[in-house]
């Protein structure tokens, strides 16, 4: 996966922008068992390169299930191992409620 200038309108990983030490991953569509493997691949490539700060834009994600949560938990744990930072932002209420049910709102940095 070539991440520089990565774009795919049909998502779930719609765009990846790398600017110095920060990568912004824009996700779109539902992140469920069908799509979360694609998200996992993209994040693992960034993590292998030890990108210090990874932001995930969730504004265009209307639904996320436990497989999406698992993908993000795995990413967070691997990023923490190299002292990196993972920030989630733009959560729609429906997605935010999934984090609340799983008691993950204090685990992630959510803006």
């Amino acid at each position: 996966m070539n991440l520089q200038d990565y774009e795919n309108e049909n998502g779930p990983v719609k765009r990846i922008e790398i600017d110095g030490e920060k990568a912004t991953v824009t996700l779109s569509n539902d992140i469920d068992m069908d799509c979360s493997p694609d998200v996992r691949v993209a994040l693992q490539v960034l993590i292998q390169r030890k990108i210090p700060v990874i932001h995930i834009d969730l504004r265009e994600v209307p639904h996320m299930d436990s497989s999406g949560l698992a993908t993000l938990i795995e990413a967070l744990q691997r990023i923490k191992r190299y002292k990196g930072k993972l920030v989630l932002y733009g959560l729609q209420n429906r997605v935010k409620s999934v984090f609340e049910i799983a008691k993950l709102t204090d685990i992630f940095e959510i803006k």
Binding site: S66, E74, Q77, V98, I101
Partner: protein
């Protein structure tokens, strides 16, 4: 009203179809949009579990979902029954995990039990599992689930 019956193959791409049907049914039977979405999430998790644990990822098996209304002790609710022909497990062994341990995986059953009022599994005599989930309509004093 007669229950709605949907049969899909165990391909993850069909999860959204089942979820949408459940949410639409909830919308039309007195649940708020937010409540319907949560019920849809519970069913999403149940179908995902069938694909992952019952069929071990085989996308060519069958999942039957029945969505209807139920009335128990004067309380009305939505009842979703999910049947498969996959691996059988002891229903008592299906539990949500401790959330104090932050790790990927194992959140699906916790989400289902957090959202729904009743969640019960049984082994079917002809093979596979049957999951029944009920969510009652909130009373006038309860505005959220």
């Amino acid at each position: 009203m007669e229950p709605v019956k949907i049969t899909v193959s165990s391909d993850p791409s069909h999860i959204a179809t089942v979820r949408s049907a459940v949410e639409s049914f909830g919308d039309h039977h007195g649940f708020s949009r937010e409540q319907s979405e949560k019920i849809g999430l519970a069913v999403n998790e149940a179908v995902s579990n069938v694909i992952r644990h019952g069929y071990l990822g085989d996308v060519h098996q069958e999942i039957a979902v029945t969505i209807g209304m139920v009335e128990n002790d004067g309380k009305k609710g939505i009842k979703v029954v999910i049947r498969d022909h996959g691996l059988q497990v002891d229903p008592d062994s299906i539990k949500g995990r401790d959330l104090e341990e932050v790790r990927p995986g194992g959140l699906g059953v916790h989400i289902m039990k957090s959202i729904m009022d009743e969640v019960s599994y049984r082994c079917r005599s002809q093979g596979g599992m049957e999951l029944t989930m009920i969510k009652f309509l909130p009373s006038a004093r309860e505005s959220t689930i």
